[in-house]
């Protein structure tokens, strides 16, 4: 568990991060979201001590980060930034091997790990290991950046606007890939973004920051139903709210008995997707299938609409 305890950062008289506390559970993805200049990057950089806190502390599994030598701490924490900062003079394999080399792993172990990560990120080792960063597309560079950060199996992965340099189509694919990899590795991730859609798409929990302060730290659904104040409510987007709620709710929550015509939708898909299909096809209901493909009931427009507003 990562405990962020009353972290504060001051530059001269200006408070950039003010008394922020929250805990990140092992194996979860926490998104820090807020407008530009809110202090998100500074907060993130205090976790791996690229910025020294003015006050407060960070505990990783109960261990105060100040008791760990800086470089050693950073070997244990993955770090991905917007633009990735890949080393232009080193090929993909050498980039990924950066931290294992700093840790003096033996060559064979490094080579194995690099290959494993390239496979995980769907980059054919034979094709990509010896390419240089400028020979890669934006999406490929992004994947190498994340692979490099994960190379030494860090306890925690910090990501600062990791999708900021990607165009919309590649970005949503990269987000899905990140979720898949996070689930598969059980990684603990703190990700910074200014994009509320991204926050809702990725976050198990969301920390909303504004003007150096943490306004609310909650699950996406709580954020929608019970925003802490007007600012959070506006940030969450009043117009978008029902649709966000539907995106967060799986079809199985609105499952009802009965028959419907048309192509079935998976129970794990979101109500947002189900509604979208219903609107487009002009039907009133869709059959619902479980993971094996068997029809287990149906989902209807009326039932979906009930989920698009806060429970009484």
């Amino acid at each position: 568990m990562i405990e962020i305890d009353r972290l504060t950062k001051r530059y001269g008289a200006t408070l950039v991060v003010e008394d922020v506390s929250f805990n990140v559970e092992e194996g979860t993805l926490t998104v820090v979201v807020g407008t530009s200049g809110a202090g998100k990057s500074t907060l993130l950089r205090m976790i791996n001590r690229l910025v020294e806190p003015s006050a407060g502390r960070v505990l990783i599994d109960g261990e105060d980060t100040r008791t760990i030598p800086e470089d050693e701490l950073r070997h244990r924490i993955g770090y991905v930034i917007q633009g990735y900062g890949l080393f232009p003079h080193r090929n993909v394999a050498d980039n990924i091997a950066t931290v294992p080399r700093l840790l003096r792993w033996d060559r064979k172990r490094i080579a194995q790990r690099v290959e494993e990560l390239l496979d995980l990120f769907q980059l054919d080792p034979a094709e990509f290991a010896h390419k240089f960063p400028h020979e890669l597309s934006g999406g490929q560079q992004q994947r190498v950046g994340v692979a490099r950060a994960l190379a030494a199996r860090p306890a925690l992965l910090l990501m600062d606007e990791p999708f900021g340099a990607l165009d919309a189509v590649i970005r949503s694919k990269a987000q899905d890939d990140l979720i898949a990899i996070q689930r598969r590795l059980g990684a603990t991730i703190v990700l910074v973004t200014h994009d509320m859609n991204e926050a809702f798409h990725l976050g198990d929990r969301i920390a909303v920051m504004d003007q150096a302060r943490l306004l609310q730290y909650a699950t996406p659904a709580e954020l929608l139903m019970r925003p802490a104040d007007d600012f959070v409510e506006r940030l969450v987007g009043t117009v978008e709210r029902p649709f966000r709620l539907l995106s967060l709710t799986p079809v199985r929550e609105a499952l009802e008995a009965g028959h419907a015509e048309g192509e079935p939708i998976a129970a794990s898909e979101s109500l947002h997707d189900a509604l979208s299909r219903l609107l487009w096809t002009g039907r009133k209901a869709l059959p619902v299938a479980d993971s094996s493909g068997a029809i287990i009931g149906r989902v209807s427009v009326d039932k979906i609409l009930q989920h698009g507003r806060p429970l009484p």
């Binding site: 470089d71 917007q82 080393f87 003079h89 931290v99 400028h134």
Partner: protein, 389 residues
């Protein structure tokens, strides 16, 4: 579809080259004959400077090159014709010297004149232009340089040029020529090495500390504006004083005149480009790369040696290139304060109005500068290696 290019077409540079060749062949003296090394010269046209058959052959080849320069497109063909031109021109200068010098006369001197220089300029221009159009990689350019240098060495060793005045000057001073050559290289490369040893760390420190950077850059810029003679002069007094008061310094050869002030002046001139390019090279390393390196737990030393310096290297090498070419030229001036080097021949020659002696100092300097710039350009390209241009 791209229309097929005609094999022959009109070329503007080629036209200029052809005009130069025409002037060189028919309107300019090919060689100068002097009864003694300081007597006034008598001009000899191509037709007078060579036996008739040789003169005719040279003229035909030169006209052929001119025609090729104007009409041929293919760079390989243009390079080929330039090389053939040079292969005929360069030995014929030696033959002309033998032809013009009366038998058993050790006082007469034959030296190349405007026509020869124009012809060699035109052919070289054509060759260099063809090489540039071939867009050779760094290794290709190094190979071309090696071929050129070997050809030159072969001409010198073959003895075909031995009757030329400049080689007669060399002949009477072979020992001092190589001594001054060594001195010249020592001054140029030694001061460069010293400037690197001192300037690169200073550049790294200036990159880190903004206040230091301003102070260093300003003082080095002031040094750079002092004319070389004046700087040599300025250094004579303090170094003379050091030599007079510190016996060890004197024993090490540090004196008010001689190599020490020259070396020190070259060192000072070299510092600005080295420091400035080190700072510029480090500044252009992307901030995200440095941030990522820090975030992954690379220590300051690991970052500097593993990331920042390799990425700054092309810019630092470009600074070294500037300094080396500059030093090879400036080292000539060192002779004025007794520092030796090829400048010794230049200034002796000026004193005696012996133009051949001036050339004996000047031509090796030019050749060295040219060779150094080709080699370092290639190194700059190689150091960029895998990073995008």
């Amino acid at each position: 579809m791209v229309p097929p290019r005609p094999a022959l077409s009109f070329d503007h540079l080629g036209f200029v080259i052809a005009v130069l060749i025409g002037i060189a062949l028919f309107a300019a003296p090919f060689a100068t004959y002097r009864a003694t090394r300081i007597a006034s010269g008598e001009a000899r046209l191509v037709i007078e400077a060579l036996p008739f058959s040789m003169a005719a052959a040279l003229a035909l080849v030169a006209l052929g090159v001119a025609l090729g320069a104007v009409l041929a497109r293919d760079p390989l063909g243009r390079l080929g014709s330039a090389v053939i031109g040079l292969a005929v021109l360069l030995p014929s200068l030696g033959l002309s010297a033998g032809y013009l010098t009366p038998a058993d006369n050790n006082f007469a001197r034959v030296s190349p004149s405007l026509g020869f220089w124009l012809l060699s300029l035109s052919f070289s221009l054509l060759a260099v232009d063809a090489l540039a159009r071939m867009r050779l990689g760094p290794f290709g350019r190094l190979a071309a340089l090696a071929v050129g240098a070997s050809a030159l060495a072969l001409l010198l060793l073959s003895g075909i040029w031995d009757d030329l005045s400049i080689l007669k000057e060399y002949d009477t001073r072979a020992d001092s020529f190589w001594r001054e050559a060594r001195q010249h290289l020592l001054l140029a490369f030694g001061s460069l090495a010293a400037a690197c040893l001192f300037g690169i760390p200073l550049g790294v420190a200036s990159h880190r500390l903004r206040t230091l950077r301003t102070a260093v850059m300003q003082s080095l810029s002031i040094v750079q504006t002092v004319p070389s003679i004046a700087l040599f002069g300025l250094l004579m007094a303090p170094l003379g004083a050091v030599a007079a008061s510190v016996p060890l310094a004197a024993a090490l050869g540090i004196r008010g005149i001689g190599a020490a002030p020259a070396f020190f002046a070259l060192f000072l001139y070299a510092l600005l480009p080295i420091v400035a390019n080190t700072v510029a090279g480090l500044n252009q390393v992307p901030a995200a790369v440095v941030d990522a390196a820090r975030g992954m737990g690379m220590s300051a030393r690991q970052r500097l040696l593993g990331v920042e310096m390799p990425l700054a290297l092309p810019v630092i090498l470009a600074g070294i290139r500037i300094v080396l070419v500059q030093n090879l030229g400036l080292a000539t001036v060192a002779a004025l304060i007794g520092g030796g080097g090829f400048g010794a021949f230049v200034f002796q020659g000026i004193g005696q109005t012996a133009i051949d002696l001036v050339l004996l100092g000047a031509l090796p300097t030019v050749a060295l500068s040219f060779g150094a710039s080709v080699v370092l350009d290639a190194l700059v390209d190689l150091s960029k290696g895998t990073t995008p241009a």
